[in-house]
């Protein structure tokens, strides 16, 4: 079956786009969500994926250099990060991270969730934003690392942390939105989350169709509703 490996910030948005695509085309797709970095390693190891939607560009280019892809891919979205604070947390959702800095000083902050910067692009951007705010060294002992951004969001809202840095696309999903407050972090504080997709060698026609479908206005409209900017903005 045609299989799509997608960065986990796409969890809610891509499910809706794919459902609409399946209704319109009659094709069936299999969606697998996880961390972009893990998918990168798995594809190198021969994982049977046909389309790879990364949360950044680097992994796509590295796969292209390794000869695993059809071409060098296409941008499909631009992601945003922000601070998510669960209800009942002593932290305020402040996009400039001033209250986070204050909470670090006065001891209100015990645990804070981000995605693992080693292999999750959203984790790398979270680290960059925290460095920009001058909080990286101070917050490191408090960090809990999600394997991917979905897990970071899960940690951030679990009640065991005081908050976390998550994707806007997850924070807007109703199941997450009801759990806490969210504020965007200025986009200039980190490298842009240019999200690139690429067809992998041997991709069957339905996946190629889906790849093209993702650039249509109908698909982009759904992506925008979930908090993604169109890549040419």
């Amino acid at each position: 079956m045609p299989t799509v490996a997608a960065a986990s910030d796409l969890k809610f948005a891509l499910e809706e786009v794919a459902a609409q695509f399946e209704r319109e085309s009659g094709h069936k797709l299999r969606l697998v969500f996880g961390s972009s970095g893990n998918f990168y390693s798995q594809i190198l190891q021969g994982a049977p994926f046909h389309l790879y939607l990364s949360a950044d560009e680097d992994f796509v280019f590295r796969l292209a250099d390794a000869g695993k892809t059809v071409d060098r891919g296409r941008l499909y979205a631009r992601g945003r990060i922000g601070i998510l604070v669960p209800h009942g947390s002593p932290l305020r959702a402040d996009g400039e991270l001033k209250d986070l800095a204050a909470a670090l000083r006065d001891g209100r902050l015990r645990k804070f969730a981000i995605a693992n910067p080693e292999h999750a692009p959203y984790g790398q951007r979270a680290e960059e934003a925290l460095r920009h705010a001058g909080l990286w060294q101070a917050i490191r002992p408090h960090l809990v690392l999600g394997e991917n951004i979905s897990q970071a969001a899960q940690f951030a809202t679990s009640g065991s942390t005081q908050g976390g840095i998550v994707a806007l696309s997850l924070a807007l999903a109703p199941d997450v939105a009801k759990l806490g407050d969210f504020a965007l972090i200025p986009e200039a504080w980190h490298r842009p989350l240019l999200q690139r997709m690429v067809l992998l060698k041997g991709a069957p026609p339905p996946v190629r169709e889906f790849h093209d479908y993702l650039s249509t206005t109908a698909a982009q409209a759904i992506m925008v509703r979930y908090g993604f900017a169109t890549p040419r903005d």
Partner: protein
């Protein structure tokens, strides 16, 4: 409830047991009856998957069987067989990490059979097959049964190795344990809850049943 994942886990557990049972019976019985110089090494190898972190096992399986390894490439090119990120790969992994769960109880069961009984059978002229079927099997049966139950339930619940070599592909490698992890990340705690309950009840039920069966068999003796 992810029925597809449940069915997949049941299939994986069934196939694993089917492959392992003959091997486990042979190896367990052999270890119970023979002593030789390097026996401790063999026994250590059997127990190894039990003490090794699943990620270590998964890592070695991934790099040894994956598409980037010589073995993986050879299997793909000459046998058209891919051993990672598909069901076949999960079966291979599952067979390896379940070796101690089948061999150890079987070995203990055969060790517990008094040697005089099999010797008496031999002296009375009973052949190999009748001895096995009428003397050894009835006595070792409780141990064999619990080995089978343990292997089955352990496969249903294995997570680390499956995550490393499976890749969480629905209908192919997304077992019920992986599905629970996936549902939690999707903020679908209701589904995770139902599946976790099912696994809890199933595991407890299976283990309890095997204890009951063992106790009844022991009482009959």
């Amino acid at each position: 409830m992810d029925w597809q994942a449940l069915v997949l886990s049941l299939q994986l557990a069934g196939v694993t047991l089917l492959v392992l049972l003959p091997l486990g019976l042979w190896l367990g019985r052999w270890l119970a009856y023979t002593t030789f110089a390097g026996k401790a090494v063999i026994e250590a190898l059997v127990v190894l998957p039990l003490v090794l972190p699943p990620t270590v096992l998964g890592y070695y399986l991934l790099v040894s069987m994956g598409g980037a390894s010589p073995l993986g490439r050879w299997a793909a090119e000459t046998l058209d067989l891919r051993l990672t990120f598909n069901f076949t790969g999960l079966v291979v992994a599952s067979v390896i990490f379940n070796v101690p769960f089948i061999v150890q109880p079987v070995q203990r069961a055969f060790e517990a059979i008094p040697r005089q009984l099999t010797e008496a059978a031999a002296v009375s002229g009973l052949g190999w097959w009748p001895t096995w079927r009428r003397v050894e099997l009835p006595l070792a049966w409780p141990g064999i049964l619990s080995a089978m139950v343990l292997t089955f339930v352990h496969t249903m619940g294995e997570f680390g190795v499956v995550l490393m070599v499976g890749g969480s592909i629905p209908g192919e490698t997304k077992t019920i344990a992986i599905s629970i992890y996936d549902r939690v990340q999707a903020f679908d705690l209701a589904a995770a809850d139902r599946m976790a309950w099912l696994l809890l009840v199933l595991s407890l039920g299976a283990v309890t049943m095997s204890f009951f069966a063992s106790a009844r068999l022991a009482a009959r003796r």
